[in-house]
Amino acid sequence: MSTEYQTLANDGLWENNPALVQLLGLCPLLAVTGTVTNALGLGIATMLVLVGSNITVSLVRNWVPNEIRIPVFVIVIATFVTLVELTMNAFTYGLFMALGIFIPLIVTNCAIIGRAEAYASKNNWYNSAFDGLMMGLGFTLVLVALGALREILGQGTLFAGAELLLGEWARDLKIQLFSFDYPLLLAILPPGAFLGMGFLIAGKNWIDGRRKAKLAKAPIEKAQRARVTTVN
């Protein structure tokens, strides 16, 4: 794996994670992360759209004049979202129902148009595809983490309703970790999503801080100083 791909992967999954760092796509992120299944479903949908739109935008980037690039990106993204929506409707009907309005809302997820604008419109298609994949994966991971957090705290389960996404066999995937007499409703309700998100971001920053503290001990390479004046 070349460094280019490494950088892309690191950016998408951690350094420049669309959800944790760029704070993009919060609307679906906070709304559908009640369970891991929902989170995973939306994450995969977003990832598909992201990869598709990134490839397409990258392929057409040289033919699109600057002035109309945004409308073109929007058309491309809207098309992919509709395709994904129709496909999910046809093949994972239950999940489609559960995710409700949030599938079409992917079209307004700024993470997607953000990547189209920031990366795909300046790079070749295979790099863009990889970037889309990594960004999508990063987004999905955050969704799933938040979903797991809220599902465990709110219901004491994991993978409840996995059959909606994966078919009937997945019904057994559900893990009942513990059961409450009184679930922590806050975790299920939208404020819980905000709090959970806050804690995830805090966690990431904390880890970054620790890593940086370790890095700081490394010796610093002196940069070349320019001579402003010439001395004969």
Partner: protein
Amino acid sequence: MSWLLGILALAVLALVAGLILGFAAIRFRVESDPIVEQIDNLLPQTQCGQCGYPGCRPYAEAIANGDEINKCPPGGQATIDKLADLLGREAKPLDAAHGEEDVKKVAVIREDECIGCTKCIQACPVDAILGAARQMHTVIADECTGCDLCVEPCPVDCIDMVAVAVKPERWKWNLDQIPIQDITASSEHSNSEDKQVQTQ
């Protein structure tokens, strides 16, 4: 038939939008902001080159073209914050590779050692050194930016970078740095050696 209509409608819509955008692109073009000026105004104008560019203005141009904003040790964190504010970028800590923030200094030539080679005069970016060939040189302290570019060219190593002495009227109220006279020694006029610092 309905789908054909859909395609047609969208195509027309897109066409119209494209026309409008094409029109707007030409009609409402704005000249770019003189951002370099604004950046240059924030830089400390020491002209020290520690950023890797020959002078503050070249660095300002580089920043405008996307270079990092944390390469200016004389400006320090305050300058970085202001640049971040101006450019809407994230304020980063000073890049240690370019040096560290230091107290303000001026160059002082040990005049009895100066051989009058004029090398420092040529090195000074703000013409703050007076002198002529084989004459003793001296630094105009008020004009010196403390860039220390004159130190290295000096063949006899007679230039020192000295921290600027603070005058009472430019004192910054750092009470905890005041040396306290020991009260038992208060009757003696000489400065007692064992100064004790007592802070609130």
